[in-house]
Homo-oligomer: 361 residues x 4
Amino acid sequence: MSHNTFGHLFRMTTFGESHGAAIGCVVDGCPPGIKLAASDIQGFLDKRRPGQSRFTTQRQEPDAVKILSGVFEDDRTGGQVTTGTPIMLMIENVDQRSKDYSEIRDKFRPGHADFTYQVKYGLRDYRGGGRSSARETAVRVAAGAVARKVVPAITIRGCLVQMGPHKIDRKNWDWAEVDNNPFFCPDRKTAAFYEEYLDGIRKAGSSCGAVVEVTASGVPAGWGAPVYGKLDQDLAAAMMSINAVKGVEIGAGFAAAGFTGEENADEIRMRHGKPEFLSNNAGGVLGGISSGQDVVVRLAIKPTSSILNPRQTITAQGTETDIVTKGRHDPCVGIRAVPVAEAMMALVLADHFLRHRGQMG
Amino acid sequence: MSHNTFGHLFRMTTFGESHGAAIGCVVDGCPPGIKLAASDIQGFLDKRRPGQSRFTTQRQEPDAVKILSGVFEDDRTGGQVTTGTPIMLMIENVDQRSKDYSEIRDKFRPGHADFTYQVKYGLRDYRGGGRSSARETAVRVAAGAVARKVVPAITIRGCLVQMGPHKIDRKNWDWAEVDNNPFFCPDRKTAAFYEEYLDGIRKAGSSCGAVVEVTASGVPAGWGAPVYGKLDQDLAAAMMSINAVKGVEIGAGFAAAGFTGEENADEIRMRHGKPEFLSNNAGGVLGGISSGQDVVVRLAIKPTSSILNPRQTITAQGTETDIVTKGRHDPCVGIRAVPVAEAMMALVLADHFLRHRGQMG
Amino acid sequence: MSHNTFGHLFRMTTFGESHGAAIGCVVDGCPPGIKLAASDIQGFLDKRRPGQSRFTTQRQEPDAVKILSGVFEDDRTGGQVTTGTPIMLMIENVDQRSKDYSEIRDKFRPGHADFTYQVKYGLRDYRGGGRSSARETAVRVAAGAVARKVVPAITIRGCLVQMGPHKIDRKNWDWAEVDNNPFFCPDRKTAAFYEEYLDGIRKAGSSCGAVVEVTASGVPAGWGAPVYGKLDQDLAAAMMSINAVKGVEIGAGFAAAGFTGEENADEIRMRHGKPEFLSNNAGGVLGGISSGQDVVVRLAIKPTSSILNPRQTITAQGTETDIVTKGRHDPCVGIRAVPVAEAMMALVLADHFLRHRGQMG
Amino acid sequence: MSHNTFGHLFRMTTFGESHGAAIGCVVDGCPPGIKLAASDIQGFLDKRRPGQSRFTTQRQEPDAVKILSGVFEDDRTGGQVTTGTPIMLMIENVDQRSKDYSEIRDKFRPGHADFTYQVKYGLRDYRGGGRSSARETAVRVAAGAVARKVVPAITIRGCLVQMGPHKIDRKNWDWAEVDNNPFFCPDRKTAAFYEEYLDGIRKAGSSCGAVVEVTASGVPAGWGAPVYGKLDQDLAAAMMSINAVKGVEIGAGFAAAGFTGEENADEIRMRHGKPEFLSNNAGGVLGGISSGQDVVVRLAIKPTSSILNPRQTITAQGTETDIVTKGRHDPCVGIRAVPVAEAMMALVLADHFLRHRGQMG
């Protein structure tokens, strides 16, 4: 049981609240002998870091990661490597702005976890959302960076494929464009449109949802397991565990419901002596086991619940009221979900790599 | 780690292949003192049982369940009750038709797990799909019937809301209609259309996908946990673990990606002294914890991979060939997925009930 | 969490009561391609089977095991092999003698689990001890036989080294003697004495305890893990989970408490180019990780609680009374614990083999 | 799977090496609303802290614990309380003396984990033993202090009952004496002897083993579970996971092997309307479930492996050599194992309390 642990053989256990002293995690099960420095992790954290454009929260957090255990600088091995023992990653909280929290202390923000945490635990750390804050996802990104090193032959890439109701044009897809705009969008043209669209949303004090797509290339056929150890089952759990995610699909996903068997079947041919699928409706997973094709997952992210326009709600004491959520919030949390979803993909794959190797050698 | 186990405190471990001697499971963690007879389980199995209409496989399986352990007929307690020890549920396979399996032994059916099982394990029980057969889902239904008894105040209902590309008309929704048609469809009018549509699919030797929706009413606020013990995370895993499922969404799901924050926020009022949400885009889960509203989940099921129209594939030896899958197959596996998805909902809720009680008392 | 599951990557989930329809288990995580027939298991069950000498219970149970899933007879592979899916092992209960259970239904046998089961669950299957019966250990032996096949290079041997207060003379140790007497005793001379001693115990309607020792030879150095994945930690849990076990020790065990550091240190030399330890006080485990030496564990088994001499107890209603436990009981359960302890050793090692391979390749 | 995690519902995940930046743990599953300050934990750490007498290592570590998450100072609740989210406890390493580690870097200390870590991982943090150092046990003590707060009605007390070959005289047992001598010894007379004895050991550059006994009073009947969720199974694992422990016994333990059934049976009478056992050979556990009596466990600790007298060993390169382990070592690690064993008892009981409540309400 693992309310704050993700994974089995490769696993992370996270801790920390939005406005506590620090957030972090213990990564357990990592094979030894892997070169690992904080700088290997920092790059991924920087992608997710807030305050980098006007489209994300203006909270200023350097998100500087420290490795407190599990690595060793041995002059004989030449450089810092993992030792096979737990890797502790810590990120100190810096910009915990001193402010008046009485508004969210006493009122439940609709769409937010305020209500359910209060009902469950009888109290909550309301400062910045406490444990329910998306700040926890920084830790996932850090652990995901370690996971990538466990499966170095796999390329994991994520991007934004829909903002609000507006989908990208897949004909324009270019992975190289992802880092050229503040939305991680692979379609340059649509990215330009998103800039205008999101400025409108932002200025209106509103927010919007998004769809993120993550692809893993180079996953060998055979990872995963039947029935309750399915690779796609674990991907679904991984993605749904990210804040604000309301839907997950693999390959053709919900569109597959509208297909006939003929349309859906990914036919197989031989190419250069190897099996080649003629399509990838399966999203790289058949019967819960990887097929060797790209593993493709999409996740739907709801709009940020914290908006400037007043919504009807109640107080903790049961009085009807309105709430306006000021503060520093992302108008579209889907953007910064891209590196987080990539990290979750990496964590699932590293775990399944070790699980596969355990049973199969 | 649990490749064939689902759940934590309330958990099932399943076994069995399509054409082996039996399928079944061990249900562990069930509280003692609950009345439980095979007849309590049989009704749910009968809903899923094949061969009940021309729209499902004609394999004749009585799916008669036996309880081999974990219950006790004590004359002082008056009737058979659970004892708190593992409950073994067994269903013998009856209609394992003796036939020639050479076609699927040597060729990989596109869209099926044949290829990935062979690559992973180096061999597979190809008879009827072996362990990857949807026959395993009968066991889930049996265990789900026990789970329902653990949370008797909760009403779990599933139905088919889309067949192929055709969605039901939600204005016609009537739960009472679900048992009046062979599709578990709550919209009588659309059900009539489905009959015609699926006959066409069936006669063409084809198949189609579907979308299933499951609702749980009466779930108290407070179940679930933050971060990696989220109720919706476990629901996503539960549903994605069902054969042929390619997508899962909670509440508004993928539609939420197109919403603004104002549209998405489920506003709260007081009604009869209790909090009442004015909408349920959240699908009954906020921050991974139940809100007291109906828990609503939808799953996309791809079309049956076994179709009569020839598809291009390869043999296990790597020779290109075509395959036509004869045999007794459901033209739309989404139909019989309804009782299975209900069962998975029950299993997740029973588990979270015990988990919540463990931490919170 | 796993009240009825043992192991992680290689794991068994057991079910069944002494007087139910059957006992059995699901073995999960077994690598594929291992030859496995019921006959491979039956030999180990026969060693544990009751009624083979006057020194064990006269209950007549053939303990015939059936494999209901997880193996496949493929004409191409030539013989029945594991498929990597769950292996269901079932043993039907045959000799559930119809008798009057009112004595143990209403009275708590001192030293037995009657009292604690009743207090915990509010009811219990009192027939033959129900789930608390040592009959469950037959299932461990069956699963252990599968585990041995996962680590075929390891030789696991158990024996009885103490009966009542009488230890064997280690100078007489001869593994070949173990099967020559009904006590699994490696010391022929002491075995002869045990025969006389236990006849006295048996005729007096009494019972006695024992100490069992199990050795695993051929375990490579490096299995296990630091801190909470220690090999000896898991061995301690495995052995303590066997009915009636009250103590476990590794290597020198409790005697090590009386040693000085000099006496305890297993010094190391090189021999034929390999490290060789000059003693084995460690019992083959250093820092939780195997050293390559024999893994040696001992377990203390208390005397059978069911005896013919009256003991003071109370009824379920709280009335003081006496109890005499008639029925068919082993005068020294430690004897039949030998194959059970061997099985638990095999299960721990198979699990750690896969766990080690998962992390280390 | 949990190489660095202990427990199920109440669980800790530890990290850190002897000479790294910090050691610590994440405590997960703690119920909310429990008052918890660092000062509640510090007292237990101080008991275990090194350098307090000449009989423990002279390493100077303040072992000051910080709580980095999982608690919240809410002016409405009045004081810092747990929130139900993960509690991060961190202890910075202070006295990592800069020294020459070449001796233990290149040579394997007999009886230590040097050899097995090197073989398993191919490298190791040799400074002070790295992850295999007993320094990790400070974290257990910290987490154990939290666990005690989860089961406040239970009194957990540990003591030293044997040093080297010398047992205490149980007739002199007085819990109040435990804090009056540097050995946690409940027998004042024997404690005086131990002082002399251990001085001799220390001056001789040698070390000795010990036996520790821990008792938990106030554990209600009914905790634990049959078969593989046994309370004593988990206690055995807990204690065997402590560095240098080679044996664990419950109640009469190994002595029970020498008993007859009559001697071993803890007879039951009624007293003040409640069941009362006339003896406690069971050590408070019957069939894996607590009986309401004191839970009593004993553990055997081997002598410190690091001694000043030369021992034969080999280098990592396979050359025969001798080793003398200088540095700051406890001559009898069994002494400081007392608070550690108490902590493990607390952790097991807190976990079983929540597990029991989960299934039983």
